[in-house]
């Protein structure tokens, strides 16, 4: 089923902040098989010039879609989640994410288009600290297989 184009331009702000913890960064690093001490050990991170342990470059995927996720589940959008695969992803950093950061995300559906038999939907998520300092912008394109057929 074609996705509802009326959703393009809609913005969804996170209802609560996301607190980046050392434990979560360690868990994520373990899950991707990355043993880098800068993800696990505050002393190692500080020795490398960071205030605390650093989150891996793809870490924002953990929380950046929380606010947009509500939109994707909206029946009016017409998305069949069982047919969704990931199309494209990008992370654009102002600075690294550190343990202790308290982050808020604002997600905007920037594009919905057809490509062959598929429907493509792109979400931009602007991530900032609760104090308003921009940290990272992510771009996420999902593919609904067969959605345009």
């Amino acid at each position: 089923m074609a996705l509802n184009r009326d959703f393009v331009g809609r913005t969804y702000a996170s209802k609560s902040s996301y607190e980046v913890s050392r434990v979560k960064i360690r868990e994520f690093a373990a899950a991707i098989g990355d043993g880098n001490p800068i993800y696990r050990d505050r002393d190692a991170a500080q020795a490398a010039g960071h205030p605390d342990v650093v989150a891996p470059p793809t870490f924002p995927i953990v929380f950046s879609l929380q606010s947009g996720g509500e939109a994707l589940a909206d029946p009016d959008l017409g998305l069949n989640l069982a047919m969704v695969v990931h199309g494209e992803q990008r992370f654009e950093y102002v600075r690294p994410i550190y343990a202790g950061d308290e982050l808020v995300t604002s997600s905007t559906i920037t594009d919905i288009r057809s490509a062959g038999r598929n429907e493509l939907l792109t979400v931009r998520s602007d991530i900032a600290t609760v104090a308003g300092e921009p940290v990272c912008t992510t771009y996420n394109t999902i593919v609904e297989r067969g959605g345009a057929a």
């Binding site: 979560k24 994520f28 899950a31 490398a48 650093v54 989150a55 995927i61 069982a82 992370f91 950093y93």
Partner: protein, 142 residues
């Protein structure tokens, strides 16, 4: 921040040697838990096949994370990645056996930017299939 690779010592065309990263069902279960992406196509073979996939497939983000690991291990500092984008061009099928799949990643410095930054173009393969396209990282060097 302490990238260990020096900008002045890197030229366009510099090749970063390939590394193979294993991906087994266990990795996908761990990734599902850590990332919060519990889509059944990443762990339930019955479900994956019912929606037309050949078998369980890896999270695209798992593959992308291996690309991130490749770049941060090269540059020596995870904080040095200032931009990282990929397109998921093909699925990584992960069979339920002891071998799983292997994602092989290599890189080449494609461009030198101002402020001691470079663009690294990544190639990621599972078997003979390219699983990422347009994979680029902008990295801050020393």
């Amino acid at each position: 921040m302490t990238a260990t690779v020096k900008y002045d010592e890197i030229e366009v065309g510099y090749e970063i040697p390939a590394i193979g990263y294993d991906v087994r069902r266990l990795n996908l279960v761990m990734y599902a838990g850590a990332s919060g992406d519990f889509n059944q196509i990443h762990w339930n073979e019955r479900f994956a096949k019912a929606v037309g996939l050949p078998d369980v497939i890896a999270h695209g983000m798992y593959t992308m994370a291996q690309g991130g690991r490749f770049v941060t291990d090269w540059v020596g500092d995870p904080g040095a990645v200032v931009d990282f984008g990929v397109r998921f061009s093909s699925m990584v099928v992960v069979p339920d056996d002891d071998e799983g799949a292997t994602i092989t990643i290599s890189g080449v410095v494609e461009q030198k930017l101002p402020d001691k930054r470079v663009v690294v173009a990544l190639t990621a393969r599972a078997g003979d299939t390219r699983v990422l396209s347009k994979a680029r990282a902008v990295v801050q060097l020393a």
